[in-house]
């Protein structure tokens, strides 16, 4: 009994000394992350990835969930400032109203990194950098894949996101650029599917009827994967083969679209990576090491995925989402 006591006490002491030593040698970076909430699977994946990326680099990440409210985010930033963290990450829920709290962070000399969304401010010096995807590029990548796949001749139906939302506008813009370059490519129908599965299905049903039972459609381009999943069901119920009779290309890279690709029912997706924190950590570490300020906008990669890697990608992702 007494011997086990002794051993464990010694072990604990050793551990304490070890920890203290490590801390003294190389102070662990502490980052506060004000996350919007967990309104979608993608958002949850972003939080999860941020945690694992922080662990990889030995960074102490404190996450505060704002539950969709800017006031909670502002409170969180203030408390991070009070705690004297080394950096603050914000995934801003809205674009405006950040100036005063960011000034407080700047006065405390704490660099701020925006994740996934930009803000509107008159003084861009208030934040160090923003890590976001290029949504126009996403649309372009999807369009270029389709142009290549069909030899530049294709009648496309388009499922738009929510009318007026910036990803819907930009993903349309990027795709339209490619269509303009290929005279054989045409968007024959375009409608909003509100980024949802149910609306995607309903709109695709009417597209199929409007275009001669789907015979006039060569491909469907959906602004997100969920609408594509709905469209796939509509194509199937019309007696056509999604992925063959009608090609399916979409954006986001959620697990369900990889499942559909593995089953041969979808053809390509452009990933909106949930790993926004990783590049932000790297920029931060570089900045702390030699004071080199990163560029104002760090674009994440908009990688295209096709069915040949779908099964492995699905297995890799299904737990992250």
């Amino acid at each position: 009994m007494s011997r086990t006591w002794l051993i464990s006490a010694a072990a604990a002491a050793a551990l304490l000394i070890g920890l203290g030593g490590a801390q003294a040698a190389d102070k662990k970076l502490v980052v506060g992350f004000s996350q919007i909430g967990s309104e979608s699977g993608w958002r949850a994946a972003e939080t999860k990835t941020a945690k694992t990326e922080a662990e990889k680099r030995g960074i102490d990440l404190k996450i505060s969930d704002a539950q969709q409210k800017q006031e909670n985010q502002i409170k969180a930033v203030r408390s991070f400032v009070a705690q004297g963290v080394d950096a603050i990450f914000i995934a801003p829920v809205v674009a405006t109203g950040w100036d005063s709290v960011l000034k407080e962070a700047k006065e405390a000399k704490i660099p701020v990194v925006l994740l996934d969304r930009q803000i509107e401010t008159r003084d861009p010096g208030l934040y160090m950098t923003a890590v976001t995807s290029d949504t126009v590029l996403e649309g372009r990548v999807a369009g270029e894949w389709l142009a290549k796949q069909t030899g530049g001749t294709c009648n496309v139906v388009e499922l738009q996101g929510t009318v007026g939302s910036s990803p819907a506008i930009n993903r349309k813009k990027g795709f339209d650029e490619v269509v303009a370059k290929n005279p054989g490519m045409k968007i024959v129908r375009t409608q909003s599917g509100d980024f949802t599965r149910a609306k995607g299905k309903e709109v695709m049903e009417s597209f199929i009827k409007a275009e001669n039972g789907g015979k006039g459609i060569c491909a469907v381009y959906a602004h997100n994967d969920d609408m594509a999943v709905g469209a796939i069901q509509a194509i199937k119920e019309a007696g056509l083969k999604p992925g063959k009779d009608i090609l399916v290309v979409s954006i986001d890279g959620v697990p369900d679209i990889f499942k559909a690709m593995a089953e041969g029912e979808a053809n390509a997706t452009v990933e909106l990576t949930p790993n926004m924190a990783g590049p932000a950590f790297d920029a931060l570490i570089a900045f702390k090491k030699d004071g080199k300020a990163p560029p104002k906008w760090i674009q994440t990669e908009s990688a295209l995925f096709t069915p040949d890697t779908a099964k492995a990608e699905y297995e890799r992702r299904k737990d992250a989402y």
């Binding site: 979608s40 599965r197 309903e202 969920d226 119920e237 019309a238």
Partner: protein, 349 residues
Amino acid sequence: MTRSAPGPSRNLPQYGALAAVLLANWLLFPDFFSIRLQDGRLFGSLIDVLNRGAPVALLAIGMTMVIATRGVDLSVGAVMAISGAVAATLTQAGWGLAPVLAAALGAGLLCGLWNGLLVAVLRIQPIVATLILMVAGRGIAQLVTEGQIVTFTSPGLAFIGSGSFLTVPMPVVITAVLLGVTALLVRTTALGLMIEAVGVNRLSSAGAGVNTPVVLVAVYVWCGLCAAVAGLVVAADIRGADANNAGLWLELDAILAVVVGGTSLLGGRFGLLLSVVGALTIQAMNTGILLSGFKPEFNLIVKAGVLMVVLLLQSPTLTLFLPRPGPRPVRPPTPPRGKPESPSPSAGA
């Protein structure tokens, strides 16, 4: 159907609106009425109207009776999300079809009971009472699904959304059955009369011996059940429960369907079939917009314009100036007494 209706002329605006929208669709898209069989299932734009209109029609059935009691149920969209979330999550957990359906419908009944108790026993105004569940319900659904879209592959549950019975899509069959059962319940018994009485004057109907709290609770419970069925249909259709979007804003479409169907928000006389006609009118409009190829920016404007015309056609003031095919002008919108002239059960559907 309205009880004192001597003939179809009284309901002409409702049927006329549906016919006009269908006709407009046909003009925009000549193949609108063409129907064929696809994998043993009817397939065509007209079928889409029925099939896609089913969820709002289901909601409208329950909502009609709530509105007839001079109430309103804002929570039906959220209840749809809860029912779908429960069904999908339990299916994923390996439950069989029967317990899954029982749990989903049970959740709807429970939500209805909650609303009913708030309105009938605590006497909270319906719009406020049901607002609670409208807000909280979606949160509950998100808790059940943990904020994700829960997808399932169970063919049994999917059948409810995309299967067919004698070539008719299941959502349409389910709506017809629920409409029939509801009509039987309220029109072959005194229940319908009591609902109208409560809506016209709660105090005096209580004085006349109507157990008003029981009638009110029953109406909200039935509305919750209808919403749960609608939630099942929507979840089964996309083989997944989307707690963020399932049934979003559909409570407003349901109220609109009831109003387009001619039931007054002031309570009293109600028409179940007419509310379903109202729901189909709205859906016919939506489908027409999708087929027309307008830009999506115009969707809401076109919808609002058509609705305005439909509602103007029903305006008591305006109809006095319009030539009517029926023998009588529309009565002013005073609460009717609900006295049956022909209490045949067929008048109830």
